[in-house]
C-alpha cells in the first residue's frame, strides 16, 4: 500500500519557532534606526551617507571573503549590516568616507571571518574595527563634529565645525557646557550614533519587547556606572555628575547594542550580570584614570575576551542536585 509514498524521516522535534537568525538581525537593524534618525537630525545627511558607506563595505567584505574562500554565502543573515551600522555609529559624522571602509575590512575579515564567521568571533567586530581605526588614524576621528543647526541638515562636507564633546569636559572633572535635556535628546558633539540616549533607549525597549535581548546586561552595566559615579563624583553635585556620565559618550550605545552582542557576551543569566558589572567597572576606571576620555569600547572589548571563562564559571545548577531538593528527597526516604 505504501510502497510509492516517500516520507521524510528526521529526529524530533518536527517543528521550529518562527524566529531565526535573520529575523533577529532584522529586529536589531530596526532598533538601530531611531539612533540613525537622531544622527541625521543632529549632524546632517552626512551621517546617513557615512553609515551607508560603512554598511556597504561590511556587506561587500562579508560576501567577497566567503566567495574567495569558496564558502557558502552568509550575507543573507544580515549580521554584516549590523556590524556596518555599529561601526559607523562609533565614528564622528565628519569622518572621511574611506575610514569606515578600512574599519569594515578589519572588522569583517580579520575579526569575524578568519575565526569562522558568524558566532565564532571572540571580539565585537564593530568595536574591534573602531579600535583599529583609533590606533591607525587617530587624528581623523579624534575631532568630533558639533551639532548642526536646523538649516544645515543637507551638509555633506567634512569641514563642519568641530567642538569638544561632553566627554572631554567630564575627563577634566567638570560638568559639560550643555543642558541635561540636550544630552538626553542628543544635541551634543560625539560619534554619530551615540549622541541621542533617547533614540538608543527607544531601540533598546524594542529589542526587549521583541525578546531579542534581556535587560540583564544593559541594566547591570548602566547601574554599575550609575552607582560608581554617584559615590565617587568629581565636583560637588554627585547626582548631576552621575547623569552626565550615564548620558555622555558611548555608554548607552555600548550598553544596549554592543555589550548585548550575542556572540561576544555570556549565555548564562548570572554570567550576563557579571559581564555587565565588569563592563561598568572598566568603563568608569578608564574614564577616571585612563588617558582616553571615553572607556566604553575598550571596557567591552576587554570583557569580550572573558566571556567563555564567565560562562564556564556560571554553569547553571544541575537539576536534582540542589541542596534544598536533595534534603527533601532524603526527608522522603526517611519517612
Amino acid at each position: 500500500m505504501s510502497e510509492n509514498r516517500k516520507l521524510t524521516v528526521s529526529s524530533s522535534p518536527h517543528i521550529r519557532s518562527a524566529q531565526d537568525t535573520r529575523s533577529i538581525m532584522l529586529d536589531v537593524i530596526i532598533a538601530l534606526c531611531p539612533a540613525l534618525l537622531a544622527a541625521v537630525y543632529v549632524f546632517g545627511l552626512r551621517a546617513l551617507l557615512l553609515t551607508c558607506v560603512s554598511v556597504a563595505a561590511s556587506v561587500f567584505f562579508e560576501w567577497a571573503y566567503r566567495k574567495l574562500m569558496k564558502k557558502p554565502s552568509s550575507v543573507g543573515d544580515l549580521s554584516a549590516v549590523i556590524t556596518g551600522m555599529l561601526l559607523a555609529y562609533c565614528l564622528p559624522a565628519n569622518t572621511p568616507y574611506w575610514i569606515p571602509v578600512f574599519g569594515a575590512l578589519f572588522a569583517i575579515v580579520i575579526v569575524k571571518q578568519l575565526y569562522g564567521g558568524i558566532g565564532k568571533n571572540f571580539l565585537n567586530p564593530a568595536l574591534a574595527g573602531r579600535a583599529f581605526i583609533m590606533a591607525s588614524w587617530p587624528a581623523f576621528v579624534a575631532a568630533s563634529q558639533a551639532p548642526l543647526s536646523y538649516d544645515n541638515i543637507f551638509n555633506f562636507g567634512a569641514d563642519a565645525v568641530t567642538a569638544a564633546t561632553p566627554m572631554s569636559f567630564l575627563h577634566t572633572g567638570s560638568l559639560p557646557n550643555v543642558g541635561i535635556l540636550d544630552m538626553f535628546i542628543g544635541k551634543i558633539g560625539g560619534s554619530l550614533g551615540e549622541v541621542s540616549s533617547l533614540a538608543l533607549l527607544v531601540g533598546g525597549a524594542y529589542l526587549v519587547i521583541r525578546k531579542v535581548i534581556s535587560c540583564r546586561i544593559p541594566l547591570s552595566y548602566l547601574l554599575t556606572v550609575a552607582v560608581l559615579t554617584f559615590i565617587f563624583p568629581k565636583g560637588n553635585n554627585s547626582f548631576l555628575w552621575m547623569l552626565y556620565n550615564l548620558l555622555g559618550g558611548g555608554l548607552m550605545l555600548g550598553a544596549i547594542f554592543m555589550a548585548t552582542d550575542y556572540t561576544t557576551s555570556p549565555v548564562t543569566p548570572r554570567g550576563q550580570i557579571i559581564f555587565g558589572i565588569g563592563c561598568g567597572l572598566l568603563t568608569v576606571f578608564i574614564r577616571y584614570f585612563g588617558s582616553y576620555v571615553e572607556g566604553v569600547s575598550y571596557a567591552i572589548l576587554i570583557m569580550n575576551v572573558c566571556v567563555w571563562l564567565i560562562d564556564k564559571f556560571t554553569l547553571p545548577r544541575r537539576f536534582g542536585v540542589d541542596k534544598k531538593a536533595a534534603g527533601k528527597s532524603k526527608e522522603v526516604a526517611a519517612q
Binding site: 529526529s11 517543528i15 521550529r16 537568525t21 547553571p316 537539576f319 527533601k328 519517612q335
Partner: protein, 451 residues
C-alpha cells in the same frame, strides 16, 4: 501552591479542530499486527501459534520477567503469522498477526473484576499487570511494576493530564467524555499505591475539562485537580513533579526517589476499564491531525491497527504527506512505512504536507543563549553541541549530556537551526558505545589474567 520548572517553550497549540469533535470509534481492521514488546522492559513470548483461533482480549503473549506487561488480542480471529515485523520505532519485533473475523467474540476473561477484591492493594496491582497496562503517555513503562517497586517510597501520586505537546487532544477528549471513569481509575491507582491523596495535573488550556472534573467533587476522595500553566514540557515527568511538589528527581533517579509516582491520564482510564469492564489494554484514543489530514479528530483505535488503515478510515490524506509522526511534533517519532501498527503508547498520528522543521543548509550558532534559557534540565545545549561535535567525552560529561530528556525545546527555539536534540541523542549513543567497549575490554583483560 504550584512551583515552577525552569525554561520551557510555548509552541502554537494547534489543538483545534480535533479538540472539539467527539471521539469516533474506528472500525477494526481486517488484520492486526501485535508486537510482543509494547512496553519498556523484557519482550513477551507469543503463547499462540499460527492457525490458532483467538478471541477479543485473549492473552497472546507473556513473560516471567518483572519489568513487563502481557499482550492481548485486539480482535477475534485466526493467527496467520508469528514473525518479526517492523515497529514504529524502526525495529523488527516478533509480532502476532491476526486475521479479523469481524465478530469481536469476547474472551471469557473479559469480565469485571470482583468488586470486593478491588480494596486489596496487591490485587489491584496484579489486575493492572494482567490487563497489560503500561504508561500510556508514551513512555510505556509497565504500570504494575511502577506500583510494586514504589511501594513504601511513594507519598505523592500525580496524574499527568498536562498533554503539553501541540496537536494532541486524546487525553483531553478522554477527560471530557469519561470523567467518572478517569477519576475512578485514579482512585484505584491511589489504593494500589497506598496513598490517600492524588494530584491530577492539567494545563490551563483545558479549562473546561478542569471545570467538569471539579464538578464531580474529586476532593471527597482525595483527588486535587491542579491547573498548570500551559508551557512545554510541562508534562515531562521530572518537570511535572517539580511543578506539583517542588521536588527534583536526582540525575539518573526514578520519581520514587523523591516519593512520587506519575501516571498518565489515559493510564488511569485504562485501569478503570480493566477493573470495572474487564477490558485489557487493547485499544486507545489516538489524535489524528496535521496539515495533510482531511478530517482531524480523535479515534478510538485497536492496538495493532496498521497506520495506513487508520489514515484511510480517517478520510485519507488531503494532500500527499511529507512526514508522518507517531506522537507529538516535539518528541514524536517520524515513521517511514505506514504498515507499522498502532501501539499502546500511540497518543497521536500526525501527517504534515510540508516540512515544518525549517532546516537550513548551514546551521550556525550565534550564541544567543536561548537554548540555555529554555532548557528545563538547566543544561547549556550550545556547549554540549560543541563537545558532541568534537567527540569530547570529558566535555559531554562535565556539561551533563546524560541529563538531557530530549524534549526538543532547544532545537525548537534555536534561531541558527542547529540540530541540538539530535546531536545529544547521537552523543548518548556514543557514550553508551564507549562504555560497552570499555566493559568488553576489561572483561577480556580479566579473562587473560585468569588464564
Amino acid at each position: 501552591m504550584l512551583f515552577k520548572f525552569h525554561g520551557g517553550v510555548h509552541p502554537d497549540e494547534k489543538k483545534s479542530p480535533a479538540d472539539k469533535i467527539e471521539t469516533t470509534p474506528l472500525n477494526p481492521p481486517p488484520q492486526v499486527v501485535i508486537p510482543m514488546s509494547l512496553h519498556i522492559g523484557a519482550p513477551c513470548r507469543p503463547i499462540v501459534k499460527v492457525g490458532d483461533t483467538v478471541k477479543l482480549g485473549q492473552k497472546i503473549g507473556d513473560t516471567e520477567a518483572p519489568v513487563s506487561a502481557p499482550v492481548h488480542a485486539s480482535v477475534s480471529g485466526k493467527v496467520v503469522a508469528v514473525e518479526p515485523r517492523l515497529t514504529p520505532a524502526g525495529t523488527m519485533v516478533t509480532s502476532v498477526v491476526i486475521e479479523n473475523d469481524g465478530l469481536d467474540t469476547p474472551c471469557e476473561t473479559m469480565v469485571p473484576y470482583p468488586e470486593d477484591r478491588l480494596s486489596d492493594q496487591d490485587a489491584i496491582a496484579a489486575l493492572i499487570r494482567e490487563a497489560g497496562i503500561v504508561g500510556m503517555g508514551g513512555a510505556t513503562f509497565p504500570t504494575a511494576f511502577k506500583i510494586t517497586s514504589g511501594k513504601g517510597k511513594v507519598d505523592t501520586l500525580i496524574i499527568n493530564g498536562a498533554e503539553c505537546e501541540p496537536y494532541i487532544t486524546s487525553d483531553y477528549r478522554t477527560m471530557l467524555e469519561h470523567p467518572d471513569e478517569v477519576l475512578g481509575g485514579i482512585r484505584l491507582l491511589m489504593k494500589a499505591c497506598g496513598v490517600s491523596q492524588a494530584f491530577f495535573a492539567i494545563e490551563d488550556n483545558k479549562a473546561d475539562a478542569i471545570r467538569l472534573l471539579n464538578s464531580k467533587n474529586p476532593k471527597d476522595s482525595g483527588i486535587n485537580i491542579l491547573s498548570l500553566k500551559t508551557r512545554y514540557p510541562q508534562g515531562a515527568e521530572k518537570q511535572l513533579i517539580k511543578t506539583v511538589t517542588g521536588r527534583e528527581v536526582p540525575p539518573g533517579g526514578l520519581p520514587a526517589a523523591v516519593g512520587c509516582a506519575v501516571f498518565n491520564c489515559f493510564t488511569a482510564y485504562s485501569v478503570y476499564r480493566a477493573a470495572y469492564e474487564g477490558r485489557p489494554a487493547i485499544e486507545r484514543v489516538v489524535t489524528v491531525a496535521g496539515s495533510a489530514i482531511e478530517r482531524p479528530r480523535n479515534y478510538l483505535v485497536r492496538v495493532g491497527t496498521p497506520l495506513e488503515y487508520v489514515f484511510q478510515q480517517a478520510g485519507g490524506f488531503r494532500k500527499e504527506p511529507h512526514k508522518v509522526i507517531m506522537g507529538g511534533p516535539m518528541m514524536g517519532v517520524a515513521v517511514y512505512d505506514l504498515s507499522v501498527p498502532v501501539i499502546k503508547a500511540t497518543n497521536a498520528l500526525l501527517a504534515f504536507c510540508e516540512d515544518e522543521t525549517k532546516t537550513v543548509e548551514n546551521p550556525a550558532c550565534i550564541r544567543c543563549g536561548k537554548c540555555v534559557q529554555v532548557c528545563p534540565m538547566n543544561l547549556m545545549p550550545l556547549y554540549l553541541y560543541l563537545y558532541e561535535q568534537k567527540d569530547d567525552f570529558a566535555g559531554m560529561e562535565k556539561y551533563r549530556l546524560t541529563d538531557c530528556i530530549e524534549c526538543g525545546a532547544c532545537s525548537y527555539i534555536c534561531p541558527g537551526r542547529l540540530h541540538l536534540t539530535h546531536s545529544f541523542r547521537a552523543g548518548k549513543a556514543k557514550i553508551a558505545a564507549r562504555a560497552a567497549a570499555e566493559k568488553a575490554r576489561k572483561e577480556a583483560a580479566k579473562g587473560t589474567a585468569a588464564v
